[in-house]
């Protein structure tokens, strides 16, 4: 008796499509771009607290999940960042939400809304950069000026406070407190030590870069099978 083949789920159909990709060189077209971009970002961010090296194959799995070589978008926006009306790309390039800390200096200013939407290598870099921006934790902290290590002194005048001294000397109240731990009450003629510095956004730690976190932070629940797809693509690529 003939048996009927079981009906495949949508996810199984997607798996079938991807299984054919593994021997199709078109799906490896961006390997070089991905490796270079990931290597530059790993180098740039390695000194930040808690950063773990990004595996370029995970990014390749994202490209396979987001578009894939059989999609027309593969040739323009393989990471799918920058579709019309995408607030993510604008926030990444705004330099007000942490993107400026993620991008290596040589790429600052080179990525624009226009290039990210049309040049695959720029789309890949923006996509990885945005993923990392969404994975990092940021805080505003006092940061010492990198080009000025000398400790200076200032004499307190009547009416001075840590805030007015910091403003006048180009540092922050936190830096003054740190360099003058016993100066709880300010008196005229008292000497305070200071170093130039400012309040800046810094990366304080990182979320794990797992497929679940990528699904949550990059896809936002748009596709309930995103993490599962990513796991499958990552497994295929590693094998």
């Amino acid at each position: 008796m003939a048996t009927q083949a079981p009906i495949k789920t949508a996810f199984e159909k997607w798996q079938d499509g991807l299984s054919k990709a593994i021997n199709d060189p078109r799906w490896d077209a961006y390997d070089g771009e991905i490796k270079t971009a990931v290597s530059e970002l790993n180098q740039h961010l390695k000194s930040t607290s808690g950063f773990r090296q990004l595996d370029w194959r995970l990014i390749k799995a994202m490209l396979w999940t987001e578009s894939g070589a059989s999609s027309s978008e593969w040739h323009t926006k393989p990471m799918q960042i920058g579709v019309p009306g995408d607030p993510g790309l604008a926030s990444f390039l705004s330099n007000r939400e942490g993107g400026e800390l993620i991008l290596p200096p040589k790429w600052q200013g080179r990525l624009t809304i226009g290039t990210v939407r049309t040049i695959p290598s720029h789309n890949i870099r923006a996509g990885i950069g945005y993923l990392l921006m969404r994975t990092a934790y940021f805080e505003f902290q006092s940061v010492l000026a990198s080009d000025e290590k000398t400790i200076h002194e200032v004499t307190i005048k009547h009416g001075d406070s840590l805030a007015t001294i910091a403003k006048a000397q180009g540092c922050t109240p936190e830096i003054l407190r740190k360099l003058n731990p016993t100066a709880n009450v300010l008196r005229p003629a008292q000497i305070l030590r200071f170093q130039p510095g400012s309040i800046q956004r810094v990366i304080t730690r990182w979320r794990p870069i797992s497929t679940d976190n990528i699904a949550q932070r990059y896809n936002g629940g748009g596709d309930p099978y995103y993490a599962k797809k990513l796991d499958y693509a990552f497994r295929l690529i590693r094998s």
Binding site: S67, D86, D223
Partner: protein, 147 residues
């Protein structure tokens, strides 16, 4: 010349897709649309959901037309029929406003995800609410006695 109501209704039911829609066979909820469109990459999934969303919108428009036709057939005084038709129009407008606001809210729950993903959330929401509205309209007018 006035066209009898039963002819109008028969004509509406003969519209492509409407007859099957009326018995719910074509209704598709948000979950099944997302599930079926999930057979694609994210870029194709968005296109798929966009098409399904347009379909659900057309279905709803047809259901609204069908509901209005059923009201015309209702065995009731004309002033009550007119009032019910006016309430249907008001209800449809209010539904559209609610749907768009609710789906914008749903999309916002994607947080800082990329725009493609936010749009997929919005489209899935539209499909779900259009479908439920169609079902509700169908069941609301189904039991009205005809002339």
């Amino acid at each position: 010349m006035r066209i009898p109501n039963f002819i109008v209704l028969a004509g509406l039911l003969a519209l492509p897709g409407l007859a099957t829609f009326a018995n719910g066979a074509e209704l598709q909820n948000e979950r099944s649309a997302v599930e079926e469109c999930g057979a694609h990459s994210e870029s194709a999934m968005r296109e798929c959901l966009s098409k399904r969303s347009q379909q659900s919108k057309r279905m709803l428009e047809q259901t609204e037309a069908q509901a209005a036709a059923r009201l015309s057939m209702w065995d009731e005084d004309s002033k009550y029929i007119s009032r019910a038709k006016e309430k249907l129009r008001t209800s449809s407008k209010a539904f559209e406003q609610y749907r768009d606001a609710q789906c914008a809210f749903d999309s916002s729950l994607g947080g800082g995800a990329i725009g493609n993903a936010l749009e997929m959330r919005r489209l899935g929401c539209l499909i779900g609410l259009n479908t439920r509205r169609s079902e509700q309209l169908n069941s609301t007018v189904a039991a009205l006695p005809a002339k």
